[in-house]
């Protein structure tokens, strides 16, 4: 009974891994990925897996042989041996040799992974609660990337789409066949940036910069997630990378730079309260609602309510200050760096007029600039 179950489990396990070997999308094994490094890692993983299987077959084989043949109910009489120096030395040395055989390829791959020299593209990745920021060093391109799955899908009010929880508003775009160096850090707590297809996982640690690199062989969209517990929405900060041909990448960079210029030009314009409310609501839902909730009620005490709050109803300067500079030692980040002056003005206006906070005040980008210049 026991052995049949054991063998059944073993063969199930073997067949599962074998099936995975043939077709990766079955979802039971590590991906082979799309970089030379990820291929090496996959090969290393499989080599060690098969060594473990071989050892398991021998050890469990002897065990199940005893369970069958040496049972008392079959009249087995116990022998009395309890030591054998030769055997004991042998089964200390043989595993040690197997380990050395495993360590050699592992060392080679690791040395390769650590060689971040001569990169073609440098991208700084910063983890925030709960989104990623990508800065293309020396290119003037810089944006945030956060989950785009609608709340309705998460709360089961709508059909979940095929990229549920693995989709973002702005994907990281990189060229293929180029060495890309990632400089990984964080703004608040520790996060970890992981894309399985590249075999790149690096912790994003506030105050320190970690390095990693990749060279992608095939164009495509590659998805990963934050892998270090970083608070409430740890499960909701995916990574999406779009790898494209060099020419497409160059176009994209130019387009991004132009978008940045256009956004800056908005600061000179004035908007009506309705326009401000509309823009403000978009910014609020994307940036603020995770903590302060879409209805402004917050989740006290960690995330205070904005609806009816003293700051949102009275002191405008304080309100701008909190949004721009955050509150040190709390979960309230400084958004001065993350949002444009236009967006900050819009979101402050929204917070002062939504959910019954009917102050009627319209804050302009100039007000934010004034605060910053103080």
């Amino acid at each position: 009974m026991r052995s049949r179950l054991g063998l059944g489990a073993l063969s199930l396990l073997l067949s599962a891994f074998y099936a995975a070997d043939v077709s990766a999308e079955y979802g039971v094994n590590m991906t082979r990925g799309v970089t030379d490094i990820s291929h090496s890692v996959y090969d290393l993983h499989m080599t060690i897996f098969w060594i473990c299987v071989a050892i398991g077959v021998v050890v469990f084989g002897v065990m199940f042989y005893s369970i069958f043949k040496h049972r008392k109910s079959k009249g087995a009489v116990a022998s009395n041996f309890h030591d054998n120096t030769t055997v004991e030395i042998l089964w200390t040395i043989v595993p040690a040799i197997i380990l050395i055989v495993m360590a050699i390829p592992a060392t080679t791959v690791l040395i390769d992974m650590y060689d971040t020299s001569d990169a073609d593209v440098d991208i700084k990745i910063t983890g925030y609660q709960w989104k990623w920021r990508y800065e293309y060093l020396g290119q003037d391109v810089n944006f945030f990337s956060s989950l785009s799955t609608p709340k309705d899908e998460i709360y089961n009010a709508a059909q979940k789409n095929e990229n549920y929880l693995l989709e973002v508003d702005n994907a990281l775009v990189v060229p293929i066949n180029k060495k890309i160096r990632f400089l990984v850090t964080a703004n608040d707590v520790i996060h970890s940036w992981w894309v399985p297809d590249f075999a790149v996982k690096r912790d994003a640690i506030p105050g320190f910069i970690n390095e990693s690199w990749t060279r992608i062989n095939e164009p495509g969209i590659y998805r990963g997630q934050c892998t270090e517990l970083c608070g409430k929405d740890h499960g909701f900060m995916p990574v999406v990378v779009r790898a494209v041909e060099q020419a497409e990448y160059d176009d994209w960079i130019i387009q991004k730079q132009e978008q940045a210029k256009a956004a800056a030009a908005l600061a000179a314009l004035t908007f009506t309260l309705e326009e401000q409310m509309q823009r403000g609501e978009e910014v609020y839902l994307k940036t603020c609602a995770a903590c302060h909730q879409p209805n402004g009620a917050g989740i006290p005490p960690a995330f205070p309510a904005l609806k009816g709050s003293d700051i949102a109803l009275n002191d405008i300067q304080k309100h701008i200050e909190v949004v721009v500079d955050g509150i040190a030692g709390s979960a309230m980040q400084a958004y001065g760096d993350q949002l444009s002056d236009v967006d900050i003005a819009a979101v402050v206006t929204y917070e002062r007029n939504a959910w019954g906070n009917d102050t009627g005040e319209n804050i302009s980008a100039a007000d934010v600039v004034d605060y910053r210049n103080k």
Binding site: R2, A9, G27, V28, M30, T31, S40, V41, I48, C52, I55, G56, V59, M63, H70, R71, K72, A78, S79, H82, D83, E88, W91, L99, M102, A106, V109, L110, I111, M113, E153, I154, Y155, N156, N163, Y164, L165, V189, S192, W194, A199, R202, I205, P206, G207, F208, N210, G224, T227, E228, L229, K232, H234, G235, F236, I299, P300, P301, A302, A331
Partner: protein
């Protein structure tokens, strides 16, 4: 007089037995009473921690958020880990140590009986403090049982202070318990019981106790540094003030890795007692078993950073910790080979303690294999903080530590209460636990390899099937533990009386005294040949 002293059975006539009522339990200094309290306490914690695990599994049964919000989910993962590690597994082993070590070495009691009482009675308060945080404003600890800074300092809920004091109290309890074990083993062995004649359970506990004394103060240190950062403006773990969040992880895992062996070494000891009994054959390689346990314990101090391969250590640091970690496979392998060889050409029977021990060897070895895979730093970048890790450590802790505890309870229960348990119910308990546990944790290997991070309340659609299977397994395993509670109570109340030796092949001092073991045993030390 000397005739009386020579016969330990007469001891009970010289004392008047335990006092009646609650006072017996509050003021007892008797190792058997304290052992029982530890075991009942740990079982209660096992059920509470189990309910938290089932909350997690219920939420993860399907994609989407159904039952709990992410904040509460994080409190559940954190509390489940803390309760199981510090409340269920560790006290259970201390309970076994209390009951068994004096009887195995021929001592009348533990060396420091009053301290023994105190070590136990700290625990209900420590866990009361910890559990009470769930009902406070802002909720309980939500930063994972590894409580990495700065999530557990700057960004923690206010209840982190209760958590810190709870951990301090558990630490004090563990350190005192460990000192007691060391003092008992080194000073109170019966004449003739040299160290290399001690049963392996005693050996593994001696080494575990030294590990506890070495690392619990490190844990106390790290939570005190957190307390300073939270309340007194220091910046041990805050880069903005000159500190380093990674320092937290180094200090934590310097405690944390030996802690892992604290939870498994006594189970090694239990299995090393049980397999020879039901194989009717002496343990193979007693000496190498002792040396292997000692090697594992020593190596446990130089492998901590394998929990941190992705924090960005220098290349040589990674290589050192990778090689050192792989080395642990050697003594662990020796132990597995010895257990299997002990069974080889024995005369095997399969009562519940043996079933749990065999499952221990097989499933712990599977956990060892995934551990070896995790040791390989380049592949660890893919496994780290995914469900593969969750699968790995549940494979070493559930069929490792917890099956070890079940095996021990079935093996020694007749000696403790004087009655046999129902073998039929015990077999049901075993098979349901075995199937439930594998159903719950085996699919997690696949989930992790396919890319599911740990500690997430919701997941992408491709992980749905294995998560459902896992949840079904977890509920099967959880429900089965109520059967265990029932059959233990049934055995105590109305089981068939056990013989003194209980098991045909059992050897050791504890089997020479009557069943149930009298309130006081070995008031006069036995003679060991």
């Amino acid at each position: 007089m000397s005739a009386v002293l020579d016969n330990p059975i007469h001891d009970e006539h010289e004392h008047h037995g335990p006092p009646k009522g609650i006072a017996r339990w509050l003021f007892t200094t008797n190792h058997k009473d304290i052992g029982s309290m530890y075991l009942w306490f740990s079982f209660a914690m096992f059920l509470i921690g189990g309910c938290m695990a089932l909350t997690i599994r219920a939420e993860l049964f399907q994609p989407g958020l159904q039952l709990v919000e992410p904040e509460f989910f994080n409190q559940m993962t954190t509390m489940h880990g803390l309760i199981m590690v510090f409340g269920a597994v560790m006290p259970a082993f201390v309970g076994l140590a209390n009951w068994l070590i004096p009887m195995m070495v021929g001592a009348p009691d533990m060396a420091l009986p009053r301290m023994n009482n105190w070590s136990f009675w700290i625990l209900p308060f420590a866990f009361g403090l910890l559990l009470s945080t769930l009902f406070m404003e802002g909720g309980g600890p939500n930063f994972g049982w590894t409580f990495y800074a700065p999530l557990s300092t700057t960004y923690a809920p206010d209840t982190v202070t209760y958590f810190i004091f709870g951990v301090h109290m558990m630490g004090i309890s563990s350190i005192m318990g460990a000192i007691n074990v060391v003092a008992t083993i080194l000073n109170m062995r019966a004449p003739g019981m040299t160290l290399m004649k001690m049963p392996l359970f005693v050996w593994t506990w001696l080494i575990t106790a030294f590990l506890l004394i070495a690392v619990m103060p490190v844990l106390a240190g790290v939570v005190t540094m957190m307390l300073m950062d939270v309340h007194f403006g220091t910046s041990f773990f805050d880069a903005a003030g000159g500190g380093d969040p990674v320092l937290f992880q180094h200090v934590f895992w310097f405690f944390g890795h030996p802690e892992v062996y604290i939870m498994i070494l006594p189970a090694f000891g239990v299995v090393s007692q049980i397999i020879p009994t039901f194989s009717r054959k002496p343990l193979f390689g007693y000496h190498s078993m002792v040396y292997a346990v000692a090697s594992i314990a020593i190596l446990s101090f130089i492998v901590w950073a394998h929990h941190m391969f992705t924090v960005g250590m220098p290349l040589f640091g990674e290589l050192f910790f990778m090689y050192a970690t792989m080395l642990i496979a050697v003594p662990t392998g020796v132990k597995v080979f010895n257990w299997v060889t002990t069974m080889f050409r024995g005369s095997l029977t399969f009562e519940a303690p043996m079933l749990f021990s065999i499952a221990f060897v097989i499933l712990f070895t599977i956990g060892g294999f995934s551990g070896l895979m995790l040791a390989i730093a380049p592949s660890d970048f893919q496994y780290h903080d995914t469900y593969f890790v969750v699968a790995h450590f549940h494979y070493v802790l559930v069929p490792g530590a917890i099956f070890g505890i079940f095996a021990a309870v079935y093996y020694w229960l007749p000696k403790w209460c004087g009655n046999m348990y129902s073998e039929t119910l015990a077999k049901w308990h075993f098979w349901m636990s075995f199937v439930g546990m594998n159903l719950a944790f085996f699919p997690m290997h696949f989930l992790g390899l396919a890319g599911m991070p740990r500690r997430i309340p919701d997941y992408a659609l491709q992980f749905a099937d294995f998560n459902s299977i896992s949840s079904v397994g977890a509920f099967t395993f959880g429900a089965t533990q109520l059967l265990f509670l029932y059959l233990v109570i049934q055995a105590i109340r109305s089981g068939k009386p056990a013989t003194d030796q209980v098991w045909e092949g059992a050897e050791g001092l504890e089997w020479t005294i009557p069943s149930p073991a009298p309130y006081h045993t070995f008031s006069t030390p036995p003679e060991i040949k």
